[in-house]
C-alpha cells in the first residue's frame, strides 16, 4: 500500500471541509483547525435522474468537458463588444421581414403569450401600420398571417416583451474579437412603454419620434464619435454603482457624455437636439439596451462548442423561462416563468405582476447584472436591504461559474472580477440558481412597469439541460 498521502496529512496542518452537521466545523474552529462549512443540500434537490446525469458526466464524456468549458470561458472573456451604429431592423437584423415580429424569451405562440407581450405585439402592429386599432391588431396577430420568432434566433435581444418589428431602429453591436453582431431596439424610457405591453397613442407616438428623429440624431452623432468600446464602458459603470441590469444610471450618463459633444454639432434645429438629449437624460435605463446586445454578442461567441456545459442563453417570455447550453446549440430547455420577489411602485402589488419576462437576463448570462450585485449598493433594497446582502448574492454566483472577469471588477470585493461562465453542472449540483435582477411588468397589456426585483429561474430547466447533455456526451448513462 502507499501510505505517503496519509503521512503527508500527518505532517500538514489539518484543513477540513465539513459537509453536514455544522457543529463539527465549529468544534474544529474552536480547536484552532481550519474548517470550511458546506451548506449542504441534496444535489439536484434529490432528483434521481439529474444526479445520475451529474455522475455520468463526471465518470467520463466523449468530449473533454473541462477543455470545452475553458474554451467557452476564454471566448466570453476575450469578447470585445462594440457599438458600431444604428440601423433599421429590416435592413440589418438577419431574417427580419415585414410580417415577422420578434419577441423575448424562448419560442411562444400568440395563444400562449402573456398579457404584456400581447400588448406589445398589438402596439408593434399599430406602429408598423399593419393595424389601426387594438382589436384589429389582435385579430391579425391571431390570424396566422404574422409570424413570431424569438429575438435570440436573429442575433437580437429585447427587454421585457422584447418586441421588435421591421421598421424599428436598432443598435448594432459587433464583437470585434470574433466578428459576430447583436441587435437591440432603443430604450423607450419608463412608464407607459411598448416593452411593458402599453400600446396607447402616446406609446406609438414616442416610437415614431424615436424612429424619425432620435435614431437619426444618435446615429449621426455616433458616426462622428466612432465606435464605442462597451467593454471598457461596462468596466467603468461597475465602479460607478451600476450592476449592468437593474441600475443603469452611470451607464446612461457615460453615453450622454460620450455623445453630447457630437450631438450638438449636428445640423438640426436646437430644439430637436435638446429634445434628444433631454430624452436620454430622463431615461435612466437608456443604457440597458446597450448592455444587453453587448452581453448577447459576448456569450454568442461561446455558443456551439462541442462538450461545453456553459450556459450561453437565458431568456424569458412571460410564460416560460428558457436556457441554452453551449454544447447543445439550437435547443431550448424551459420551465414556467417565475413570480418575481420584488418591490412595487406606489399603487401596485404582487397581484398586479406579470410573470418573469424579457431577454435582459442575457446580462446575468454574461456575468453582470445580478451576478455583479455587489457593485450596486444603491439598489441593495432589491436583495434584502444591506450591502452585505448584495455581496452575498455575488459571492454565491462564484460557486456556479467557472471564471472571473478580467475586466469587470467589483470595488466592494477588493476589485475581484465578476463571476463569469455559468456551468450548468454547478447549478444542478449545488441548487444555487443564477441570481437574476429584473423589472416587473403589469400582467395586463397597456399598463407598464409596476416594480422591480429578483426572480428565481425554474430549476427543472437546468436539470433537463444537464440530462440532455449527459444523453449526448456521457460515455455511459
Amino acid at each position: 500500500m502507499n501510505a505517503k498521502p496519509v503521512l503527508a496529512l500527518f505532517n500538514a496542518e489539518l484543513r477540513a471541509i465539513n459537509l453536514g452537521l455544522d457543529s463539527f466545523a465549529a468544534n474544529l474552529d474552536r480547536e484552532g483547525a481550519k474548517a470550511i462549512q458546506v451548506d449542504w443540500r441534496p444535489p439536484a434537490g434529490g432528483d434521481v435522474k439529474a444526479i445520475a446525469a451529474l455522475d455520468a458526466i463526471a465518470a467520463g464524456t466523449k468530449v473533454d468537458v473541462e477543455k470545452a468549458n475553458a474554451e467557452a470561458v476564454r471566448r466570453i472573456l476575450a469578447a470585445e463588444p462594440t457599438v458600431i451604429g444604428i440601423g433599421v431592423a429590416k435592413d440589418v437584423v438577419p431574417g427580419m421581414e415585414p410580417d415577422l415580429i420578434l419577441h423575448a424569451g424562448p419560442p411562444v405562440t400568440w395563444d400562449r403569450m402573456c398579457g404584456p407581450m400581447r400588448g406589445a405585439v398589438i402596439g408593434g402592429l399599430i406602429f408598423e401600420g399593419l393595424a389601426k386599432t387594438p382589436e384589429e391588431a389582435e385579430k391579425l396577430a391571431a390570424s396566422g398571417r404574422i409570424r413570431f420568432d424569438p429575438c435570440h434566433h436573429h442575433d437580437a435581444v429585447g427587454p421585457m416583451a422584447g418586441i421588435m418589428t421591421a421598421n424599428m431602429p436598432v443598435w448594432i453591436l459587433e464583437n470585434k474579437a470574433f466578428g459576430n453582431k447583436a441587435y437591440c431596439t432603443l430604450n423607450e424610457g419608463l412608464g407607459k412603454v411598448l416593452r411593458y405591453g402599453a400600446y396607447s397613442s402616446e406609446v406609438i407616438d414616442r416610437l415614431t419620434w424615436m424612429r424619425d428623429e432620435l435614431a437619426p440624431i444618435l446615429s449621426k452623432a455616433l458616426a462622428l464619435h466612432g465606435p464605442i468600446d462597451m467593454k471598457s464602458v461596462i468596466a467603468q459603470i461597475l465602479q460607478m454603482g451600476d450592476e449592468g441590469h437593474n441600475r443603469n444610471r452611470a451607464g446612461t450618463s457615460i453615453i450622454i457624455r460620450e455623445l453630447a459633444p457630437h450631438i450638438v454639432m449636428l445640423d438640426y434645429p436646437k430644439e430637436k437636439l435638446s429634445r434628444a438629449l433631454a430624452f436620454l437624460n430622463a431615461n435612466d435605463h437608456f443604457f440597458l439596451n446597450l448592455t444587453m446586445p453587448s452581453a448577447k454578442c459576448t456569450v454568442d461567441a461561446a455558443a456551439g462548442i462541442e462538450g461545453s456545459t456553459i450556459i450561453t442563453t437565458m431568456a424569458r417570455n412571460g410564460t416560460e423561462f428558457g436556457i441554452k447550453l453551449s454544447g447543445l446549440p439550437g435547443r431550448w430547455f424551459t420551465g414556467p416563468a417565475g413570480v418575481i420577489d420584488g418591490l412595487y411602485l406606489p399603487g401596485f402589488g404582487p397581484e398586479h405582476a406579470s410573470r418573469d419576462i424579457g431577454d435582459s437576463v442575457i446580462t446575468e448570462t454574461s456575468g453582470i447584472g445580478g451576478f455583479a450585485m455587489a457593485a450596486a449598493p444603491a439598489i441593495v433594497k432589491f436583495v434584502g436591504g444591506s450591502p452585505k446582502d448584495a455581496i452575498d448574492v455575488t459571492m454565491r454566483m462564484y460557486e456556479i461559474t467557472n471564471a472571473e472577469s478580467e475586466n469587470y471588477r467589483i470595488p466592494a470585493l477588493d476589485f475581484r472580477g465578476t463571476p463569469t461562465g455559468i456551468d450548468v453542472r454547478k447549478v444542478v449540483e449545488t441548487g444555487i440558481l443564477p441570481a437574476i435582477n429584473t423589472g416587473i411588468a403589469h400582467k395586463d397589456p397597456g399598463v407598464g412597469m409596476v416594480g422591480a426585483g429578483l426572480v428565481k429561474p425554474p430549476e427543472n430547466a437546468f436539470r433537463d439541460a444537464l440530462v440532455a447533455f449527459a444523453e449526448k456526451y456521457a460515455k455511459r448513462l
Partner: protein, 536 residues
C-alpha cells in the same frame, strides 16, 4: 533599458494604476515605471520620458500600458510580471473569522485548495457520493453518516487505497487527526501512541485513559465498524492506517481497538502490526484474548489496552516488561489495575443498603462500545444478560423498551435513534429510561456511561441528575436503596469540564469509577451480591 508592454482593451481605474505604479517603483533594479491607460496625455508623457513612441502608436485610452525603465532584462521582466499580478490579484472577501460557508464541495475546494480532509455527515443516501467526490479530489474522507451500503463502502475504500487516502467510516463517529477532534472526540493530549479503532466510544475511552495516564495520542484513526469485521471490506482502512502509523516518526506505539475481526482480516492486521517494527497493543471486544507476542500485547479490556499502550510508550519495549510494571490498586494509582478486593469493598458498601427483591443489573448506555464492554463482562460473570446488542440470540431483548432480569442496553442503537438524536447528543431518552428502571423494584444497580468531548451534550451528567434523584428517591420510598455506578469518558480539557461532571454525579450519591471497565466490575459485583441474597 526601457520596455513597454501593452494590453489592449483593458480598462483599469486610475487609483488602481497609481497603486500598481507605486509598487513597481519600489522593485529592485527598476529606475522608473508607469502603469497607465494610453490616454494622449500619458502617451506624450511616456514619449518625453524616452520610451519608444513607435510602440505607443495607435493606442487609445482603453489600452493598458506598462512602461518600465530597468537595469536589465530580468528586472524589467519581473516588474512587468508584478504589474499584471497586482492588477489581476484576486482576493476573496472572507468573513471576518469563524467558519466560512459555501454551497458545495467544489466551491469549498476552490476556497481552500490546500484542504486535506472532508468530514461528511450528510444523509446516508448521499454520503457515498460526496465521499467519492472528496477522494477523487485527493482529500482524505471521514464519513460519519451511517446507512451507506456495503458495496459503496467497498468501492470507496478501494478507491481510497488506490490513492493512498484514508477513508474513515462509514459510520465513523470519531477520530483525532493532528491533535484535532473530528466529530465526537475528546480533547486529548498529543503523544506517542497511534490508535486505529473500529469503534467510536472504544476510541474515546482508550484515548481519554491514555491522557489520564499522562501519555498522549499521535493520531487516532477511526475505520468504521465493518472495516475489520466484514471480510469483504477486509480491513482496508485499518491496514493503511497501521502502515502509515508504522512509518510515522511521531508514533512509537500502535494501538488497535475494535470488535472481533473476521479471521482472515485478523491475520492481516496482526501481520501488519508485526511488520510495523513498533510495539503494539490489540484489543478486540468480546473475543478470546490470545497470549502476548514478542511485540504485540493483547489486552482484555479497554482500560488494559490503554494502560499497556502507555507503558510500551513509556520505556517498556516489550509486552512482558510492560506487564511487570502494572500494580494492583494499592497505593500506586498511576499504572494500576483494580484488585478484586478493592472492587468488592466498593460493591459491598453499596449493596449493604439494598432492599428486599432488588436483584438485577440494569446498564443504560449512550456509547455502543462501552455498552458492549459492560455487556460481555456481565454476561460472563452473571450467567446471562439481556441486551439489544447481544450476539447470542437467546439473550437478545425481545422488547428493548422493557428490561427483564439483568439487562445492559445500548440506547444509541438504531432501534432507539430512528428519527431522534443520538443519546450522546441528547441524553433525555436515557434519563427517562433511568427513571423507569428506578421505579422497578427488581433493579439492584444502575450502570451508566457519561461521554464527554466535542460533539457530545453540553452537560451529560447534569442531564441525568433529576432522573438519578428520582430513581434513588423511589427506591428509598420502597425501603431500599438504588446504587448508581458511572464512569466518565473525558479529559480535563474537554469542553464540558471533567471534574465538574464527576462532582455533579457524586453529589447525587453516584459512585464514579475511573473507567468503564471498573464501573462495570463494581456494578456486576453488586448484582452478584444481590443475587446471593446479600441484601438484608
Amino acid at each position: 533599458m526601457k520596455r513597454i508592454t501593452v494590453k489592449r482593451g483593458a480598462y483599469y481605474d486610475s487609483v488602481f494604476l497609481m497603486l500598481a505604479t507605486r509598487g513597481l517603483k519600489g522593485l529592485a533594479g527598476v529606475r522608473d515605471a508607469i502603469v497607465a491607460m494610453a490616454t494622449p496625455m500619458n502617451v506624450e508623457l511616456l514619449g518625453d520620458m524616452g520610451f519608444p513612441s513607435a510602440e505607443l502608436d495607435g493606442l487609445g485610452p482603453n489600452d493598458l500600458v506598462v512602461a518600465v525603465d530597468a537595469e536589465g532584462d530580468q528586472a524589467a521582466e519581473a516588474a512587468v510580471k508584478e504589474a499584471f499580478e497586482s492588477l489581476t490579484k484576486k482576493k476573496a472577501a472572507e468573513a471576518a473569522g469563524g467558519v466560512a460557508k459555501v454551497g458545495s464541495l467544489s466551491a469549498a475546494l476552490a476556497r481552500d485548495p490546500d484542504a486535506n480532509v472532508a468530514v461528511i455527515s450528510v444523509p446516508g443516501a448521499y454520503a457515498a457520493r460526496e465521499a467519492g467526490k472528496a477522494l477523487e479530489a485527493g482529500l482524505h474522507a471521514m464519513v460519519f453518516s451511517d446507512n451507506v451500503s456495503l458495496e459503496d463502502e467497498i468501492a470507496l475504500k478501494k478507491l481510497a487505497v488506490s490513492k493512498g487516502l484514508l477513508m474513515m467510516g462509514p459510520d465513523c463517529g470519531t477520530a483525532i487527526v493532528n491533535g484535532k477532534p473530528l466529530c465526537f472526540a475528546n480533547a486529548v493530549r498529543r503523544g506517542p501512541i497511534g490508535v486505529v479503532a473500529a469503534s467510536g466510544t472504544g476510541l474515546q475511552e482508550t484515548t481519554c485513559l491514555i491522557d489520564r495516564y499522562g501519555s498522549g495520542i499521535s493520531q487516532a484513526i477511526g475505520t468504521g465498524g465493518r472495516d475489520m469485521k466484514n471480510a469483504a471490506v477486509g480491513g482496508m482502512t485499518s491496514l493503511l492506517a497501521i502502515e502509515a502509523l508504522a512509518a510515522d516518526p511521531a508514533t512509537r506505539v500502535i494501538l488497535v481497538v475494535g470488535k472481533p475481526p473476521a479471521p482472515e482480516v485478523a491475520a492481516k492486521v496482526v501481520a501488519a502490526l508485526r511488520a510495523s517494527g513498533k510495539p503494539a497493543v490489540a484489543h478486540f471486544l468480546g473475543a478470546p484474548v490470545p497470549a502476548d507476542e514478542a511485540t504485540i500485547a493483547y489486552a482484555s479490556d479497554l482500560e488494559e489496552a490503554a494502560l499497556l499502550a502507555t507503558l510500551l510508550a513509556d520505556g517498556s519495549n516489550d509486552p512482558a516488561t510492560a506487564r511487570t510494571r502494572i500494580r494492583d490498586d494499592s497505593g500506586n494509582d498511576r499504572y494500576n489495575r483494580p484488585s478484586k478486593r478493592a472492587i468488592e469493598a466498593i460493591a459491598v458498601a453499596e449493596a449493604e443498603r439494598l432492599g428486599e427483591g432488588q436483584r438485577f443489573l440494569r446498564g443504560l448506555y449512550t456509547g455502543g462500545t462501552l455498552c458492549d464492554e459492560a455487556l460481555f463482562l456481565a454476561h460472563a460473570a452473571l450467567g446471562g444478560v439481556r441486551s439489544n446488542n447481544q450476539t447470542d440470540p437467546a439473550w437478545t431483548m425481545a422488547d428493548p423498551l422493557r428490561s427483564e432480569g439483568h439487562a445492559v442496553i445500548d440506547l444509541g442503537d438504531d432501534f432507539f435513534t430512528a428519527g431522534k438524536p443520538h443519546p450522546m447528543i441528547d441524553p433525555a431518552a436515557r434519563a427517562e429510561r433511568l427513571e423507569r428502571e428506578g421505579s422497578d423494584p427488581e433493579t439492584a444497580v444502575v450502570l451508566i456511561d457519561v461521554v464527554l468531548g466535542y460533539g457530545s451534550h453540553d452537560d451529560p451528567a447534569g442531564a441525568c441528575v433529576p432522573a438519578i434523584r428520582a430513581a434513588k428517591a423511589a427506591a428509598a420510598a420502597r425501603g431500599g436503596y438504588l446504587p448508581v455506578i458511572a464512569s466518565v469518558t473525558g479529559t480535563p480539557a474537554d469542553p464540558q469540564g471533567y471534574a465538574g461532571q464527576i462532582a455533579a454525579l457524586e453529589a447525587e450519591g453516584v459512585v464514579v469509577m475511573p473507567s468503564n471497565y471498573r464501573a462495570a466490575l463494581v456494578a456486576i459485583e453488586i448484582a452478584r451480591i444481590a443475587a446471593k441474597g446479600g441484601a438484608r
